[in-house]
Symmetry: none
Subunit: 192 residues, 4 copies
DNA sequence: TATGAATGAGAATTCATTCAT
DNA sequence: TATGAATGAATTCTCATTCAT
């Protein structure tokens, strides 16, 4: 026998993600997905109960990847401003390099596949935890405006999300000048 | 009778919009739409060629409404900071009060219904023109950072979009304190 | 619009019944059923949730028809032996003329479609009530063996069922001689 | 090793039989069968060409077992009535103890798997031969009604089949009293 | 126009069978 | 042989669209 290939789950989820970016949830067909993933239709059903579960699983898969390493190469003893700059850049890159992620999530929350009870926003908050922590730390050091940190995270992410969207849409990478301006607005906006 | 017809078109489009906010394009079924609009399935097809056209029409309908008056109650001779504060608030309110709009557009661009040639981004830019103008004006007065105004618009709208999303999601209106903080971050971010 | 045709339910159920007699539950396909009933596949799904419910409904439909008029043309003041002879003949004819019924029920009780909780055997007992009553009446008149009437019904029906099966299988009607013998065995068997 | 193979064939056939009693031919899935038999799906296909052949084989397997010794412990020189009583009891026990047999045959004859040319009814007649002989013997001795013995066999078996069904369904064994009544009806019915 | 039952192409899902290990 | 993952044809079921009333 062929051993149940864990890679295949990744393959199918990854393919689904790419396709949803292209055709939307509305356009995802199981047979197309199978074809594009290079497996038989039935194979998809070995790894996933049905279309519903596949898409639910997709969400969990993303949360796993997304949470990834926001503060990957940030050393502990850098000044806070630098830390925030780095984490913001990581967040931006994540968004730009994985446009499928945002695309999927946008669709997911307004679809018949999403049920409020999915451990949804918990996961999202978890993903933003590193940014949150950094801002709170900044408040403790009186470097950051003393206000609801939740709202600050919202504003910061809003800026970065939008910049990512534009970069994806125009297919142009962020230039150093654009990045400096972006961070300048971000930092001046939140610093106390 | 003509007005009755127009009413029905509006009824169907409005219903579709509300439903898409809930279930997404992926979940919109013509029969459900008819039921929720209180007409027969066949009736929908009297006013719209097919689902494609209905959704295309929806887009045009939105473009019409959306371009709404961002600088409605802003008098010409107020200081720029106040003008920007007012226009930002208008933009935020627009977003919060018409959650269907954003929801639909999000879905639309990643769906099989969208064809690149739709006069899409033109309209979007048109809608943001007032904000753009104000920022350029601010740069002329040396009040606003001297940088690509396009990017500034992006950053400003990003913040406001995200705040709107949170308000919609949590079903809580923006408190005065939240608004003040939001604008403070926005303004400190862009002022020179 | 075309008004929802109650006849169509009958048409579909009747067609299904005939087909099951021919190909068994194992061989019943929704598309074949639709074709043979002269409707579109989708139409079947207007009247029945899914294949499961269709078959469940079939059972109820049968119970309704089957219970029919076992003692149809039996006048109240005939001697008991004649009454029993007539009711037995009715029962036999029912079985022979509606071979689909037996065929379906045989299949149904051993199928994934049957769940114990179906108001099953109640209905069956109800159908046999007239025979039961007559036998009890006979016991009161000391004409019938004084023993568990339930078991007597079982034995009587067993004989008649088997005779019906043979008649159906050989495609030959019961001759008068065969009927006289059958009833002679039946009557001599149960009379006291 | 040869005996091991034979064991596996028996195992698969026996398992299939039990499953068909439960879910019918309609519900028998090769993968379920394999699982319940404790082998891999592929293994079933080592011993049987395909599902068709498996079921055909099942039929032959039954024909082999079923023809079991109806007049096993009946000594030649007992009175005819006793012989008939014993053979009837054997027949009844056979039915009750091997409910799978009847279940399978019921399903088989109305399935796409059955082809008229299967040596079906021949075998059945063969199985009933001992009863037939006894009845003819009884007629020769003027103990049994002088009528078509075929029909008499039908009636006798009909009674016994039905009693067996009830016993299987209610999961209760036949009590001595029930058996005495059953045989009384049987015997009084056929004796001259 | 308005209705909603009917249609049937097309999408989702199942399951007998194959095949690499 | 034995295994069970993989296959894809066959089947169930959905839903945009038509049409008789």
């Amino acid at each position: 026998m062929r051993s149940k290939d864990e890679t295949k789950v990744q393959l199918i989820l990854g393919t689904a993600l790419k396709m949803i970016e292209r055709v939307g949830l509305a356009g995802l067909k199981m047979s197309d997905l199978a074809k594009e993933a290079g497996v038989a239709t039935g194979t998809v059903y070995i790894y996933f109960e049905d279309k519903n579960q596949l898409i639910r699983e997709l969400y969990l898969y993303l949360m796993h990847y997304n949470t990834a390493d926001l503060n990957q190469p940030i050393s502990e003893n850098e000044p806070l401003k630098i830390k925030i700059k780095k984490i913001a850049r990581n967040y931006l890159n994540n968004n730009i390099n994985n446009p499928e992620h945002g695309a999927f999530l946008e669709q997911y929350f307004r679809s018949p596949y999403f049920h409020e009870d999915d451990a949804t926003h918990q996961a999202e908050e978890l993903a933003l935890q590193p940014i949150y922590s950094l801002l709170v730390e900044g408040q403790r050091q009186s470097l950051i405006k003393d206000a609801d940190p939740e709202l600050l995270v919202t504003l910061v992410c809003g800026m970065l999300n939008e910049v990512a969207k534009v970069s994806i849409y125009t297919q142009k990478p962020i230039t150093p000048a654009e990045w400096e301006l972006t961070f300048s607005v971000l930092w001046d906006g939140i610093r106390s």
